[in-house]
């Protein structure tokens, strides 16, 4: 697993981290070379070549690339020791920078350095726990049933050290690169540990097969290619998901000139506020989707009510006030989004308790709903409506401040103020910025004081 995003201007701390990681890796390889030098160069070159090919086909999952070179590094480690694993891992990541344009030099260097360090540490740990190498200068000796259960502990130690070490180092790199909290990136990285453990298991099997019947390595092609292909299809579908919601909601809203683009802007503002409040990446993702869907219930309302220039009658007002519940009911029908229905149903609640549909007070309303309320109100105020013209951004900002503690959560309003800038917090500007990213390294999307 390795950090992947290529950024046009890398933060200095990340550059420093990358240089120090690579330097440490190089020093360690040089110091340990005499004791750990691999015995069978021809074999190592072949494994390294396979790793290079695998790394350049690594499927990207979110901010992480699940590298299929990992099993080959494990294989090299078990056969020839930590330095062999370090060389295979290093060569594969370096090649990804050489052959592929998707990674920058410093990012690739960090990935290479961290993989080398983790491989060396895990290999050292394996040998310290009593593990043995399967290949020496001229003899290969696979694991035999008689070796078990004695070798289980070192193998288990190797797997844990590689998976956890790799996940932790990748999380560190992403946290520094994207200037997000280490806790968030660690939480995300930990979810990949089971997949990494499975890949380590593949590596153990590869080493055993190589030591038993080298040519049988070819049998690993289909399982690994299939796993990679399925992951990539999953990834492309996940990418398309938010785009599809955006397109369909946009098409629905396009019928009403007063609400065109409203949901997309609310989603963008809500994510801005979420970032300003240091919410984790998952919460920001939820904010984006909930922002896109928050007014879904309105499409069941007659257009005559939505576009009425004057004051609504009590009956019309009652219908209008049903829209959060109607929207929540629709969102609730999508199993993976049912959690968002709570935020959708509460987006017209007020901090003071005078909102609808339930009249919940303060913290009884979910934080994400309180954020949506501010984002929704700000966009509504700064957009033309059938019954009034748009306010200026400055005027809307003053209203938010005046209503802070009454209609709106003061903490959310304060966070919104921190993100506020003329060029960002206006409906026109947000449509120029385009799709808001939940972990975007772009300064323009993260707002500023």
């Amino acid at each position: 697993m390795s950090g992947v995003s290529k950024s046009p201007s890398l933060p200095r701390p990340f550059v420093a981290l990358g240089i120090s990681t690579v330097s440490l890796a190089v020093v360690l390889i040089l110091v340990l070379w005499s004791t750990l030098a691999p015995a069978m160069w021809a074999f190592l070159i072949l494994i390294g070549l396979l790793a290079v090919i695998s790394e350049n086909f690594a499927p990207v999952i979110g901010n992480y690339a699940i590298s299929l070179a990992m099993p080959l590094a494990v294989c090299a480690m078990l056969l020839q020791g930590p330095s062999a694993a370090a060389l295979v891992a290093g060569a594969s990541v370096l090649s990804a920078w050489t052959f592929s344009s998707r990674r920058g030099l410093v990012v690739s260097a960090y990935n290479m350095g961290q993989l080398i360090l983790v491989s060396l540490a895990a290999g050292w740990f394996y040998l310290r726990l009593g593990g043995r190498l399967l290949a020496t200068a001229s003899v290969t000796s696979p694991f035999y049933a008689g070796d078990f259960p004695r070798v289980l502990l070192p193998l288990f130690g190797l797997a844990i050290a590689l998976a956890v070490g790799n996940a932790a180092m990748t999380a560190l790199g992403i946290a520094v690169l994207h200037r997000v909290r280490l806790r968030d990136t660690l939480e995300s990285a930990i979810t990949h540990v089971p997949s990494l453990l499975a890949l380590v298991a593949v590596g153990i099997l590869m080493a055993q097969v190589t030591a038993t019947r080298f040519v049988a390595l070819i049998l690993f092609i289909f399982p690994l290619v299939v796993a990679r292909d399925l992951y990539q299809r999953y990834r492309s579908l996940k990418d398309a998901y938010t785009d599809t919601i955006r397109s369909l909601v946009g098409a629905i809203e396009a019928k009403d000139p007063y609400t065109r683009g409203h949901s997309e802007r609310v989603a963008a503002f809500a994510v801005e506020i979420g970032h300003a409040m240091s919410l984790d990446a998952k919460s920001c993702e939820k904010l984006e989707t909930a922002g896109l869907l928050h007014d879904l219930g309105k499409i069941a309302l007659p257009r005559s009510i939505l576009t009425k220039p004057g004051r609504l009658t009590p009956a019309e007002l009652s219908l209008m006030r049903d829209h959060p519940e109607a929207g929540a009911a629709m969102v609730n029908r999508i199993p993976s989004l049912s959690e968002l229905s709570e935020y959708v149903v509460q987006h017209h609640e007020r901090y003071s308790g005078s909102g609808y549909p339930s009249g919940n007070v303060g913290a009884d309303v979910h934080l994400l709903s309180r954020i949506l309320t501010v984002a929704d109100a700000y966009d509504a105020m700064t957009s033309n409506r059938a019954y009034r013209a748009a306010m200026t951004c400055e005027c809307a900002r003053r209203v938010l401040l005046e209503e802070s503690g009454a209609q709106f959560d003061p903490a959310v309003v304060a966070a919104f103020q921190r993100t506020w800038r003329d060029e960002v917090a206006s409906p026109e500007a947000i449509s120029v910025i385009g799709k808001p990213g939940t972990q975007s390294p772009e300064p323009a999307a993260s707002g500023g004081a």
Partner: protein
Amino acid sequence: MSWSIGALVDAWGVAVVFGGCIVLLDWFDVSLPRGDSFGVSGALISSGFLVLDSQGRVLLGLVALSSVVVLYTLRHRGAGALTLEVSIGIRALAIAGLWASLLLVQLSAINFSDAIVAIFMASAYLGTELIATQTRLAASTKRPLGRLLRGNITRQTPIIAAQVSVSALVVITYPTMGAYGLVPVVAVLLLIRQSYAVLLQMRETYRTTVEVLVEAAEGQDDRLRGHADRTAHIAREICMRLGFSPSHVERASYAALLHDVDAIALSDEERDSQATGSSSLVLQDVEFLADVIPIMELCDGREVAGSVREIDVHIAMAVALAGEIDALRFDSVAQAHHGSVLRRVSVAASSSVKARVVAAALELGYRIPAVS
């Protein structure tokens, strides 16, 4: 061959280890929307047959069959899932396929390597399982077996090849590592299973989301409510009747669900006055729907980017006809609008394409409009 108690206990030891792994893998099988399931235990069942002796094979077969019973007893199966009897029948047939392939190997005069035999036997097991499952599906849905098999073999070959490879790996590592070698093998199989499961879950989520949003949008217009969903159902039926592969049926389904997305909430007059639709434009930025866009462009009467494939014309015709059929059945739906969609597609379709699609709809018992 000895059937003494001692030999039976020895055979039990190994068969129980294999059996335990098979139960574990069966437990994690993935239920598929069409009623059957995706499992990865076949690789272990077939390799177990090769590394065990006769008693072990009998015991392994019994454990593999019992595993199905355990699964049905302890785990809830969704609506439309195969019954216990059918599932046991399919597994029994697959095991019979294993015995037959083993017999063939033993009768053969050629001394194949164990890895080659493992590949042959795993192919026999998984092939028999696939044929049995599709035969049952053909019988229950009255669809042509040959077409079902062709579509599924194309789609499932990589996954079957992956399982066959794993089966050969078991046979290679078992003589040295013994049952301990099954641990990494199970990990590899679970990795494949997990990759498939998350993909399937995401597809389901995607589809439900599109359905809910389209239905919500239709809710603005009493005359349209439920139209997209019904059209998708009819288009799916027509495409299945034409013997199209599951991926083409899925494309037809998405195209039908979304064919009116531009016209939602327009008045009848506004809708009928449009000479060209724009549904394809609404969704042109969604990469996942790139395969669906040419069909929607045909329905919209727009020029298709690149060359027009015959299969796309077939599907577009099915979608347009399905929309018109639904418009006829429910007078409230804007018929003139759907008539224009059908006319647009008819321009691009040859007479043989039209005839095939119309014949399929008639066979399904639908009352259809006149197609020029």
